[in-house]
Assembly symmetry: C2
Homo-oligomer: 548 residues x 2
């Protein structure tokens, strides 16, 4: 073997070796004419191919995998596949999930000759779909040239990692087998240094000053903290300061809910009077990973006042209105933890814990929305991923007390109903695959990890077929279907009695069996009263279950 051939590799092998290096073990997608040859290389690369029922479902699954593992991969086919997936890609852009979206495209000769092949508009234009993706991805590339393809791939994936947003990579069918340099594989794709200066020291002095002088400080954890890679540091910060910590809905689950000073989701006018009083009279707010959409801030009412805020986000650190760019949040928070003088900081006034109704299976009377989540809370356990689909499930699950080492998904900004069911598949695959997840959850036995999904009937109908992939993959997922006969969250917003908020009545209990499950593999039960619910909670056989 010549030294040249030792240093070369097919482009497909290069791509999948990179995914493997990133810790990715499962790849989502649907086969199509322009990606078939590429798919030949997936399993031989040590990756598992998860064939989804359709491409939107794949994208949703890849989104959740990325949130749990830190990055994910999706393969679709030119035109029909990628456009079916695009709403999922957009959601990943909106809520920051770094999906590496690889699209198998027609061979270069076909494109150059502008041949009117299928999956085009028969007009010789091969650039439309890439143009559409520029609006919903953070970086795009087209691997047309073997000389540059490896580096193009690497820098594009790097953008996904830096910004925690999806990227779009076209791979023509005739490039799959082309030999490229393997040299890049010797080092992993890594994040570049934030900058070569030392902005962290510059701002940490000023921040420490404010922290040492604050009389009534608070910590506010929002969802983009996940992408800043500072979750351990945040928990440490809460522990050593003892300052009251609130989250947004997007931030729920990112800070340990069993810490002494944990207050829950801040709800402004809709929450406790005590919390509101403290929040509004605070003189310092450390705001971590802000994501200030209307739906994540109770219509902008829960945003800490800018004048007292120090916010840590991907683009910059902001003290009041003063912005410093090119700062590593990880380094900065480490600096703060290192230099903070615990004797100097305010012990904060005693803030009575929110009057939390203790989770309990004891209850009486009819089952209300509020009761339901309180009653079901004790069934949750460490290592669970708990998901509340857009709609009433999203609101209900916000009140759950999360076990340590669990993770929580809720509707935040994109709010595309149907997302959460394929997302449960993706999250569960990540639970099984991801070393990063095991480190985070402290899970010792991956086979005990579960996903618990709460979902309304309207949402379920959107993407229901992905249950069959859960069954095929033998995943440990509990699906609780909140059957309230239609788009209830829309009824609350508008059209309470309008027929357009009705949906077809299904026999949900038959779904698992129809989608291929054997009866000894799954557990299903219809519940419409308190007593039956208790039974469900106590049933240890519950593997996949359906509450109707």
């Amino acid at each position: 073997m010549s030294s040249v051939s030792q240093d070369t590799i097919t482009l497909a092998d290069y791509v999948f070796a990179r995914l493997h290096q990133l810790g990715i073990r499962s790849v989502f997608g649907v086969p199509g004419d322009y990606n078939l040859r590429l798919l030949d290389f997936v399993e031989p690369s040590g990756l598992h191919w998860v064939g989804n029922c359709n491409e939107l479902n794949s994208a949703y699954a890849a989104d959740a995998y990325a949130r749990i593992h830190g990055v994910s991969a999706l393969i679709t086919t030119f035109g029909v596949g990628e456009l079916s997936a695009v709403n999922g890609i957009a959601g990943a852009y909106a809520e920051k999930a770094p999906i590496i979206s690889i699209v198998g495209t027609p061979a270069r000769a076909t494109q150059e000759a502008r041949t009117n092949v299928h999956h085009t508009f028969a007009d010789g234009d091969f650039d439309r779909f890439a143009a559409m993706h520029t609006h919903v991805t953070i970086a795009q590339t087209n691997l047309l040239d073997p000389r540059t393809a490896p580096e193009q791939f690497d820098v594009t994936v790097q953008q996904a990692l830096i910004h925690s947003r999806p990227v779009y990579i076209q791979l023509p069918a005739d490039m799959v087998d082309v030999k490229v340099s393997a040299a890049g594989l010797k080092s992993k794709i890594s994040l570049p240094p934030t900058a070569y200066g030392d902005n962290e020291s510059k701002v940490s002095g000023r921040i420490l000053e404010l922290m040492h002088s604050a009389k009534k400080p608070l910590i506010f954890v929002d969802g983009e903290s996940r992408c800043l890679d500072i979750l351990d540091e945040i928990n440490e910060l809460v522990k050593i300061t003892g300052w009251p910590v609130w989250t947004s809905p997007f931030g729920k689950g990112l800070v340990d809910e069993h810490l002494e000073s944990f207050q829950g989701i801040y709800n402004a006018d809709l929450g406790s009077e005590n919390a509101k009083t403290y929040f509004e009279s605070a003189d310092l707010a450390l705001v971590l990973g802000p994501h200030f959409s209307s739906t994540n801030t109770a219509l902008f009412s829960t945003i800490p006042k800018q004048a007292i805020s120090i916010s840590f986000s991907e683009r910059h650190v902001k003290i009041g209105t003063e912005i410093t760019r090119d700062v590593s949040n990880k380094k900065l928070v480490a600096n703060l933890l290192d230099q903070l003088d615990c004797n100097k900081i305010s012990k904060s006034e005693a803030l009575s814990k929110p009057t939390k109704v203790k989770p309990s299976v004891e209850s009486s009377g009819s089952l209300t929305q509020k009761d339901f989540y309180r009653v079901i809370n004790p069934m949750l356990k460490p290592g669970d991923i708990i998901m509340g689909e857009t709609g009433t499930a999203s609101h209900g699950t916000r009140d759950l007390v999360l076990p340590r080492g669990s993770y929580y998904f809720t509707a935040v900004t994109w709010l595309s109903i149907g997302y959460m069911l394929p997302a449960a598949l993706g999250a569960s695959m990540a639970q099984r695959d991801s070393e990063k997840w095991r480190n985070r959850s402290g899970s010792t036995d991956a086979s005990e990890d579960r996903v618990v999904l709460f979902i309304g009937d309207g949402s379920l109908q959107m993407t229901v077929q992905e249950i069959s992939t859960m069954i095929r993959e033998k995943l440990n997922i509990i699906i609780v279907v909140i059957n309230n006969d239609g788009y209830t969250i829309e009824r609350v917003i508008h059209g309470r009695k309008q027929t357009y908020n009705d949906i077809a009545p299904w026999r949900y209990l038959q779904a698992l069996n129809m989608f291929g499950a054997d009866e000894d593999e799954v557990f299903m039960e219809r519940e419409d009263a308190q007593g039956l619910l208790l039974k469900l909670l106590n049933n240890q056989r519950a593997r996949e279950s359906s509450k109707i």
Copy 2:
């Protein structure tokens, strides 16, 4: 009431009155926060709201409704809804189905203030999704101003009708109730004259000359003939000339298959030797509505030679390589029919009819792909809409002999699997609603009209939930599921034994019941042998059935 108020109407009422004038009776879509108020006006306008399970399914259904009725309407919500539908819109663009896609968007004040509401990327940008739609629609407009909204709507819809392609219309939530001028409603939206000259006479002289002198003429009917509004004229042309007529797959069903000189789909090397010899030595080809994608032309092998072709398409009439624009095909073909001298034209050499195996329920041995369609052919009847989903069903159904007054869908260029099931819903709604369909099919009893869908298991899984809408609407649809355990058409192309072409095994027989049908409403049967198949064919109860 003042004269001013008499002449005004809410924008929503204006829009729906227009749809009603176009003969549209059912509107497809999914409710969402930004279209709820708009939906309040649908049913009061005399339109039926078909709430689909998800937006891609709505777009597919609207596509088929447009192909049968000539135009259709779809309502989705900003961001999540419209992007879920966009692959269906793209397919309608590729294969020419005029969908009026109306997107409910946030109120103008919200957009102008760049408020970070849900269904955005929380970056104040409200223009991305419209920009994406410029690639897949023929015209776009945003109804922001009451003074111009009615005319904007009208000219945009007119573009859909002219080009037979989807258009994209944004309607902000606060514009729904705004009063606009009702003056436009007095006249229907109509097609403009092609031009004010008389290009038709100019070219018809030249074409008649060629028709009168041709020794070996043929007629080739392709799928875009549907959009030229000349189907009656084409059938007349075939009748009076007696010239052999072939179609493309896309053109199948547009010309009466029982006419004496009807030859079937032209298949070049893959068809009969006789047909090929004639086709290749012909000295004149009248090419109607050409749509020359690879998949519609057996890899470009069935395209009549340009030198002997006169082609009639939306943009121009082409004699050889000579293009004349701004021609009304309808007027031109009428001129030809009027002025053609039947004594002068070639009676064409006797062309033996293709050796067609007579459709029959008698057969023996095991059931092959070829046998299956031959055996099932006699169950088809006038007024049926017959649909062959992308994959083996598409190839199999091409051999069916279509009853008079039926219509045929097959995969042509977009080939998005999953399309055909929601399309069956849309086609069936159009059968029920459309006066245009009744005129075409000659159906006297709409309740007897049926849709017969042939679909593979892989395709079915993509969009299966739309069966529930069929059940809810009590439509007369027969679904024949060709269960061949995976993406068989992909196995033929590449990866015959690869696991990525596998799909999950479902229990298809349970689907109808699970999706809400009562047992006395539907009929299902699993078939795996010839005898059982015959039973299915003879079963008069067959309303919705499932062949597995």
